[in-house]
């Protein structure tokens, strides 16, 4: 298994290590519940060094990204980030990723850990088909350290380390600044449904940033949090996970990602997606809350009127709601708030009700969460 530069620190903190897409990552240090609640109420610090970072630069960078990504980036400005998808010729989702526009001809894309190598090969293949002018694609994952600082106290904590004023940094915007004398990129974003930041520094300095954040953040209730809490936090926030909700057989319209798929633009997979869009989808992702006793998990069947109609893609106990929640693919007619479904949990069938996403929305919002990403 690959180790991040923070691996020894996870061991020292008593982290339980699991294999996550080939990476030795901490699933929890304390308990998932404690780390989850701490992130909702104060702050949590997550090692996200395993995620992939790829720099795209050159005069053809913009037209290249327009070709490989589903989202129209024409209105993106330096300092802004965008959530986008990359699809294959069939319109299947290769990855969901974020795009940082560093300057007119320089972008940073941040991919999932398990998909990075595949993404890189795909990017090189499309580039080599030509037609974009000069485009350099550089995998900077190994030299980039990344942590996510998430929670209502994140801004106060990070402000101690950063010379730029953070309060006016908008959601899905970033700034290039310094931390402990090192160049750093800080975006207001994350994967928990809380306010917070994704922080990038050179890999050799990430350990010092981690230590300093935990030291400063201690007074605010900050502690390290593992992948277990990251998963329950993202699910409560209604955020999808590649490998669960998303894969190459899933198209954007099935997972309510139509809003980042611009069919007016010429990208790989566009024609296939147009046909699929006109035909209509056969399944849609729906959020549900279990009404009976039991916890739905990935792979459990979904029934309606005694017939199997779908499958659970993610399911967990929600620490915030105190109930079992999940996401499932079901026929579009059933992906409607209020619909009652049956989830097959081992030998039991438990009722669940379809609800609007997210399951959890933080109270104090700087910006409307769904509109700007």
């Amino acid at each position: 298994m690959k180790k991040t530069p923070l691996y020894e620190r996870h061991i020292a903190l008593g982290g339980r290590i699991i294999d996550f897409g080939g990476w030795a990552m901490p699933v929890q240090y304390d308990t998932v519940m404690a780390e989850h609640e701490r992130t909702r109420q104060a702050a949590g610090l997550f090692d996200t060094c395993h995620m992939g970072e790829v720099e795209i630069r050159g005069e053809g960078a913009f037209s290249f990204l327009q070709r490989v990504l589903t989202r129209d980036l024409a209105d993106q400005r330096p300092g802004q980030m965008r959530l986008s998808l990359m699809t294959n010729e069939r319109g299947g989702i290769l990855d969901d990723l974020t795009v940082y526009m560093l300057s007119g001809d320089r972008y940073l894309i941040v991919t999932n850990a398990a998909t990075k190598d595949k993404d890189l090969q795909w990017l090189l293949k499309i580039r080599d088909e030509g037609g974009f002018g000069d485009v350099v694609i550089e995998d900077v994952t190994a030299t980039t350290g990344k942590v996510d600082l998430q929670g209502p106290k994140a801004e106060e904590i990070l402000q101690v380390l950063v010379p730029h004023y953070l309060h006016t940094l908008k959601f899905y915007h970033f700034l290039e600044t310094t931390i402990l004398g090192m160049p750093a990129l800080v975006s207001r974003s994350g994967y928990t449904g809380e306010d917070g930041f994704e922080i990038y520094v050179p890999a050799e300095g990430i350990g010092r940033v981690w230590d300093r954040l935990l030291q400063v953040g201690g007074d605010y209730g900050l502690k390290a949090a593992g992948l277990g809490a990251r998963d329950t936090l993202r699910l409560e926030a209604g955020l999808m996970l590649y490998g669960n909700e998303l894969d190459e057989d899933v198209i954007p319209f099935e997972v309510v990602y139509g809003w980042i798929t611009n069919l007016e633009k010429d990208f790989v997979g566009r024609d296939a997606l147009r046909r699929r869009y006109e035909k209509g989808v056969e399944r849609k992702l729906a959020g549900f809350i279990c009404r009976g006793r039991g916890i739905a998990r990935k792979g459990h069947g979904v029934m309606k009127d005694g017939r199997e109609v779908g499958v659970v893609t993610s399911g967990t106990y929600s620490p915030t709601l105190g109930k079992a929640i999940g996401l499932a693919f079901v026929p579009p007619g059933l992906a409607v708030s209020g619909t009652v479904l049956d989830i097959v949990v081992r030998q039991n069938v438990i009722p669940a009700q379809v609800v609007d996403l997210p399951f959890y929305r933080r109270k104090r919002q700087y910006y409307f969460f769904n509109l700007f990403i």
Partner: protein, 132 residues
Amino acid sequence: MARITPKDRFYTKEHEWALDNGDGTVTVGITDHAQELLTDIVFVELPEKGKVVAQMETLAVVESVKSVSDVYAPVGGRVVDVNGRLEEHPELINNDPYGQGWIAKIAMEDPSELASLMDAEGYEAMIAQESH
């Protein structure tokens, strides 16, 4: 931090305990070590009263936020009682695994099966082995 492993009962390799009640029944639960591995238990699927289980067959299911684990019957027999409090308070298993966190009572089919289980000393030795 770890609790003392009670010497009044038997243990399985799968981290269940069985307390012989002296009336042909055993009370069954999971060990302190097991609850520590699971961490915050949020759901317990209890067996129906009257269910007949064989030794080391699945008796119940305990779930933490992240994981799902079977609880095996230390001895075979009929389930005569279940700890209904766990439905509302599954955390009793974390907080009092050898006491209020008991899971079920089984009327033993064959009390000689108890002899196949470990005593507290044997169980602790096994845990010590595992952690090396």
